[in-house]
Symmetry: C2
Subunit: 315 residues, 2 copies
């Protein structure tokens, strides 16, 4: 459709919001033209299982098994394991669906056998029939941490799920990132990409822990392709999750102009929602595409993906 | 009912067969009078989870949540995780129910946190409201291994579940048992027991890996209480599982006389089924109780438990 020849597209994505645009891209591009680089900063270990919520959300989306009501988890999944945990007197705060558990069990087993997270993610994706490439940005452990006013330092999922992102965040960092490095597959994907899209994911909690892995910013700066970001903000709010709240807590107003500045020299263009049309003029350093970025239906996702790819092709 | 005062009963039990008599004992005795010492030789690790099938069967039985159709697993359990494993192209040969998984996840987490299997089993049991004491014979790893004619050496569950105990067994041993030791709680329970019952479990695969843990035979020999075994054989056959087949493969006929000899000087009496009445006379070294040992209903289990306790009280 929009991409002639063998143009390669790379998408940087976090969880639910990013996966929506990934879905649109996947329905728009031949599978071998799309690589998704996923965030691992929100990974956690529960009951000895290695859980990668963002990778799973993207993988389930690409496999067409994602729960349409939530955007995460497996469609039609049940909670019998969780019910039994409660019978044991446990208070599970992180929902692990019964089908979803199979993913975590296999991932944990394969990691324990010495496979990298990159290899494990490939095997899981292939097992579900995903033909696009889904790459964790790094196979090394990186843990997004937040320091909150009310509860002090929390691991990401404690903040995000257990406390429903209500605590006020003073500081965010990515534990372990100094010694992490991007995988060879990620480096190669960025190098070969003709188009790079930052999906409308949380800039500080989803995109930044991808960009901050040593080697990633350098590779992006050396890109041959065009790089654009789709803003996750609509009228100063996030569609879902703490992106806007979090920015304001850092004293930042979530505007297109701020986002253009935040991503610094990495972008060749910014896509913003029509609700922010009058703010487009404040973006002085980048071309801006104003369109409907709110993705409610599958059609919305496919349309936005097509518009973004078309626009980048004309930049 | 049958036990006056504070008499203490200890039962040695494997899986389904043993759990039936344990059920009867539990319905007959005050909870604080019954301790069950369980087999851990059939424990296995799958997907990084520590699974203790025999302990779980006894625990679920005591908690009244066991699947009545199979004797193992949780009543009304589902297989959604397993279905998803198959979707990933896995061929799971060991069934892990969704509710059942909660047990393995908690056990694995608590073991990883440094708790012993003894402590973990206590916490799990208490979580399910079990007020009897369920003790793994040892907190150390012991793995029952079988050398088979057709497939060579197999871990126990590979033999038992994966290959449905069809291979012919040349040799059985318990890997790791030399360096294992009975827990302090087990030693104390045997020391304080007024009655010790070997449940009708597989002598070679369930009772022997309990007896063979260093310290166990010595403690039993030094017992103050009476010790009896309930034969798992009825008319030369096991009610369930490979007990009779396995003995014949070792050139042994599964008779009351053999069992009396097999358990050596540990017994003060042997309980056999009425179907073997004419073989009772061959047991020359022990008093024998002939009764219905086949336990189909709850009433059967309670009746047999009562008869055994009554009889031991008169020995």
């Amino acid at each position: 459709m929009v991409l002639k020849g063998d143009l390669q597209v790379v998408a940087l994505a976090g969880g639910v919001g990013g996966a929506k645009l990934v879905y649109g891209l996947a329905k728009t591009l031949p599978p071998d033209r799309l690589t998704i680089i996923g965030n691992v900063g929100d990974d956690l270990t529960l009951y000895g299982l290695h859980i990668s919520p963002d990778l799973d959300t993207v993988m389930y989306t690409l496999a067409d098994v994602a729960n349409p009501a939530t955007g995460w988890g497996v469609a039609g999944d049940t909670q019998h394991m969780g019910d039994m945990l409660r019978r044991y007197g446990e208070m599970p705060w992180f929902m692990l669906g019964d089908k979803d558990l199979a993913t975590h069990l296999l991932r944990s087993q394969w990691l324990a056998e010495g496979h990298t997270l990159t290899e494990v993610t490939r095997r899981l994706s292939q097992g579900l029939g995903v033909s696009q490439r889904l790459l964790p940005v790094t196979a090394d452990p990186v843990s997004t941490m937040v320091d909150t006013v009310e509860l002090g330092i929390l691991a990401f999922q404690e903040y995000f799920v257990r406390h429903r992102w209500q605590p006020v965040v003073r500081r965010i960092w990515y534990a372990g990132i100094e010694t992490a490095h991007i995988s060879r597959a990620v480096a190669q994907a960025v190098e070969e990409a003709d188009i790079i899209v930052f999906c409308p994911s949380n800039p500080m909690l989803s995109i930044e822990p991808i960009l901050a892995v040593p080697g990633m910013r350098e590779r992006l700066r050396a890109r041959k392709g065009k790089c654009v970001a789709v803003s996750p903000f609509i009228g100063g709010q996030a569609v879902k999750g703490p992106a806007a709240k979090l920015m304001r807590e850092q004293g930042i107003e979530p505007t297109p102009a701020y986002l253009a500045e935040y991503y610094g020299g990495l972008l060749d263009g910014l896509v913003i929602d029509q609700a922010d049309r009058e703010l487009a003029g404040q973006v002085t350093n980048l071309p801006v595409l104003v369109t409907q970025t709110l993705m409610m239906s599958s059609e919305d996702k496919v349309r936005l993906a097509g518009e973004v790819l078309d626009w980048v092709g004309r930049l």
